[in-house]
Amino acid sequence: MKNESDKKALDALGSRLDEAKSDHIDPTRIPTKKGSEKGNALGLAFRVGVELISAVAVGTAIGWGLDYWLGTRPWFMLAFIFLGGAAGVINVYRMARGFGYAAGYQKGNSKTGSDTGARDDEGKQDIG
């Protein structure tokens, strides 16, 4: 009897909490969604450009550094410019496909669950 009423009270509290939470969290969530959906085309173009250019810059820098170190003047830089370009394309691809602007290795798995932490590495790998 007492358990029953406790459960009822708890359920009522839970639903009230959920309601309050949904009211409470929405204002903070909306701008992020708007930002990624609407987030004008110029912003998207800018992001794509940054991802591309930064990878090419890093590739060129690595190639130049290797050349400087090994004394093989143009070759490593030439190779790494193209590798950098490829990395840039991968960055853009992941950004476009993945979770908004994830530059990292993102799988298109569900990012919505709040229990993401419960999954361990192996579980993640399977999902991917």
Binding site: T28, V50, S54, A55, Y101, G104
Partner: protein, 250 residues
């Protein structure tokens, strides 16, 4: 008349706002470590954040007032962001993420005050922050996964003969993170503030018709405040995603 315009143009260049001015000259071991207007605004930002949080939570009421609500909302906002992107393992890093968010946000917003200095519009500042995030995340990943961390550069399901090509590409992609992270924040702030000053210059130059650029600048100010929030958020969420990669690999 011409000369007057010229001196005006020189003093009021749209880029004059980004100039570093030394306030207290200092030399430490031959390195110029002067206290500049940039440092001053960073100190002001840290003080403002501390004031905002400490005074806001001073009464620590069960039913929060307006100020305390804002403080709690910003806390919950970042806590949820961290929980959604990283999961519960991300909790130990909450102070760092929260600090980054508040620092970038307040730095951006301080830049919106007329005659102030926007330290986030300098690549040195944003790149240093991004570099610390990058190094920290890498150290966390190596400490957690030891040698398995290096499997990060080999996506699963890729045939072995592709490895010599893919691994350098993945490494470059990984190393480009701090650059894209810092350039995004820096370029947004730089471009926005320059655009605002350029259009503000038109107001005087166009005389009566200056109403048009004036209205534009008013709209742009609103947009810049949105961008200040958005870029702080983007910087934070990218940090969270990198942290997620470090903790879970793939």
């Amino acid at each position: 008349m011409m000369r007057g315009n010229k001196t005006l143009a020189e003093g009021q260049s749209p880029l004059a706002q980004f100039e570093i001015k030394t306030l207290i000259p200092m030399q430490i071991g031959g390195i110029d470590a002067s206290f500049t207007n940039s440092s001053a605004f960073m100190v002001a930002t840290v003080l403002a954040i501390s004031l905002f949080l400490i005074v806001g939570m001073r009464r620590n009421a069960l039913v929060p007032g307006r100020w305390q609500s804002i403080v709690e909302l910003s806390y919950i906002f970042i806590a949820n962001l961290l929980k959604d992107t990283v999961g519960s393992e991300g909790r130990p890093y909450f102070p760092f993420i929260f600090t980054i968010f508040m620092f970038v946000l307040f730095g951006n917003l301080f830049g919106m005050i007329p005659y102030s200095f926007t330290f986030t519009s300098h690549i040195v500042v944003t790149f240093t922050m991004a570099l610390f995030v990058f190094l920290g995340v890498t150290v966390i990943a190596i400490a957690k996964h030891k040698m398995r961390f290096f499997s990060f550069f080999m996506p699963p399901g890729v045939p072995m003969y592709m490895a010599p090509l893919l691994i350098p590409i993945e490494i470059i992609s990984y190393l480009s993170r701090p650059i894209s992270l810092s350039v995004r924040l820096f370029a947004n702030m730089l471009a926005g503030h320059t655009l605002m000053k350029v259009f503000a210059g038109f107001i005087v130059a166009l005389g009566v018709f200056g109403v048009a650029p004036w209205l534009f600048v008013v709209a742009l100010t609103g947009l810049e405040i949105v961008i200040a929030f958005l870029q702080a958020f983007v910087f934070t969420i990218l940090t969270c995603l990198y942290l997620n990669d470090a903790l879970h690999l793939h």
